[in-house]
Amino acid sequence: MIKIERRDETSNLIYFLTPVLAIFLTLVTGAIIFYLLGFKPLEALKFFFITPISDLYGLSELLVKATPLCLIAIGLSFCFKSNNWNIGAEGQLTFGGIVGGGVALLFYNHEGFYVLPLIILAGAIGGMVFAMIPAILKIYFNTNEILVSLMLVYVSKLLLDYLVVGPWSNPEGFNFPETRQFNDSARLPVLFEGLRIHAGIFIALVSVFLAWIVLFKTYLGFQIKVSGLSLKTAKYAGFKGKTMILLVFMVSGACAGLAGVGEITGPIGQLHRMISPEYGFTAIIVAFLGRLNPIGIVFASLIVALTYLGAETAQIFLQVPKYTGQVFQGMILFFLLASDFLLFFRIKFLGFKKYEY
């Protein structure tokens, strides 16, 4: 017989080591899947995880993809830590992109230094306002924020689709579903000539730093942590639950909005239908893999960005579909969640004697 019981305490070391275990198990299972589909497993893994980052261009691409993931996941960590399930970051990213892009088009003929900050601010506010919808509905009508934030993803994506096909489409664009290319003054500067890595990475790094301070050094961070551990305790301590719900959603939405505006003013340079390859959903994996810890999220965003990059490389060299990266993203989260079981529970072997419940 075996018996499962809750552990009294969990060691901090194991807490941060299980993500490594999850990544290892993902690689092993990935190799098995590649083998079953008729590829040489080690060669496939090499194309997936080593080839893409073996030159400077690849490393720059890795950071380009990790930047939005990191930003969104930082925001999500505020929500998840306090037990608020915002899973609509993809929608907040899109809406931030729409508002930021709208400002960029509005200031199309301006070339001042103020244009870019204005666009970025607009994007952050856009994402923030969009995230306030599920928060306010949750506070006043007791609606489920998971479902509302999820539904809004599709609403914002369809709105973007409408805008780039219709009123905002490039007048000289032969009816392609895209806006004009933004002016140079509306673009985030590229850091190195010939590479795509852009100044957006600094926005991400600053947000990591700020998140660390807020979460670990302020009263608000303490409130968030307590509410996540026990809502009853939080109420007993007299924390204002409603204000906090609104606040964490606003932080989370602003981060997603920043990621969206960072994409359109950075690598993309215009609005079109596909401004994000589901970064908003993938960032949920990043937040979990990083253990909702700002530093952890930085590492996690690099690892998950590699699955995007690896899928692109493998598509070229192995002719696998670009969606292959998602197999790895899904598996990482499966294994991570599964290994959490060992963190919080212990399995006791009791021999084969029948025992009393």
Partner: protein, 310 residues
């Protein structure tokens, strides 16, 4: 006039056909949710059902095997979800999302050799009646067996939940797993069964797309229908018969878009597409602020991890 009536019949028939995958997936997910489990992996299980059904059809040339296989593959994928959330007590939301992401990726990998292969004609029933009876002919006849199954399913689900003992047990587990367990009900077993059933129905919904509705394999061909099915369960306030009504409304919106484009009506299609999602949010607000309404059918323990100290 005759032509108009026939056109109306064909239009309604098309709306009903487009709502079939939604009815199947939503009915399955409804049972899962009524047992207190929120599985956000609907889209992933549907797309895996779509590719497995199509691949089996190409390999075995047997449509019956293809249908069974699609249900089994949806079931297998939901088994991952069941094992993680029920046995390893993982978070329902995160696990379900991982399932969808994983399913979309895996289906594309499996399907890479099946892109561009033409599908097979699926046998349709009562084709001769379709031509004979005006209006009702094209609505009710000349459809596949899966179509008829889908439209009977909500009635069966309703009967199961309201009139049978097992249905009562499922509801009890969803509303209060702890009291159910104290009554001697094996909560884990019930939830596993509901999760697997939900997976099988999602798989079937996916197979309807790749075998019958648009008989071919296209990457990501479910195109968000899984998320609409999830919305539908909420929209229907967890009541099987309302799933039927909701699916026809949501399916109707899809078909209407196509016709409006053809007729040149100047309402942006995107606004119509967004309607199901906006309507779901409105319904959520209405049912959530009235605690009596939400108590009526909503499984109280939805999405909560159940763990019984032994």
């Amino acid at each position: 006039m005759n032509i108009d009536i026939n056109f109306l019949g064909i239009l309604i028939g098309a709306i009903m056909a487009s709502s079939v995958p939604l009815i199947l997936a939503a009915s399955g997910e409804l049972i899962t949710e009524r047992s207190g489990v929120l599985n956000l992996g609907v889209e992933g299980m549907m797309i895996i059902g779509a590719i497995s059904g199509f691949a089996l059809m190409v390999i075995t040339d047997n449509l019956f095997l293809a249908i069974i296989g699609s249900m089994l593959s949806g079931l297998l994928l939901s088994l991952i979800f069941g094992f993680l959330t029920q046995s390893l007590l993982t978070n329902h939301v995160a696990t379900g999302l991982a399932l969808t992401i994983f399913g979309i990726g895996l289906s594309a990998m499996i399907g890479k050799d099946f892109v561009g292969i033409p599908g097979k004609e699926f046998p349709l029933l009562f084709v001769n009646l379709k031509e004979v009876i005006p209006l009702f002919g094209p609505i009710f006849f000349g459809h596949s067996i899966v179509f008829y199954f889908a439209f009977l399913l909500p009635f069966g689900t309703n009967y199961f939940l309201k009139k049978t003992k097992i249905g009562l047990i499922v509801r009890a587990v969803g509303d209060s797993p702890i009291s159910a367990a104290n009554q001697g009900i094996n909560v884990l077993l019930v939830r596993y069964c509901c999760i697997l059933y939900g997976g099988a129905m999602c798989g079937l919904g996916g197979a309807y797309l790749s075998l019958i509705y648009t008989p071919q394999w296209i990457e990501n061909m479910t195109a968000g229908r899984g998320w609409i099915a999830l919305a539908l369960v909420v929209f229907a306030t967890w009541s099987p018969l309302k799933v039927l009504v909701g699916a026809i409304i949501f399916g109707g919106i899809t078909i209407l878009q196509l016709h409006m484009q053809a007729m040149g009506i100047r309402i942006p299609v995107q606004f119509l597409s967004a309607l199901p999602y906006i309507m779901t949010i409105v319904v959520l607000v209405i049912i959530s602020r009235d605690s009596r309404k939400i108590k009526l059918n909503t499984p109280t323990s939805l999405g909560q991890i159940f763990y019984k100290e032994k």
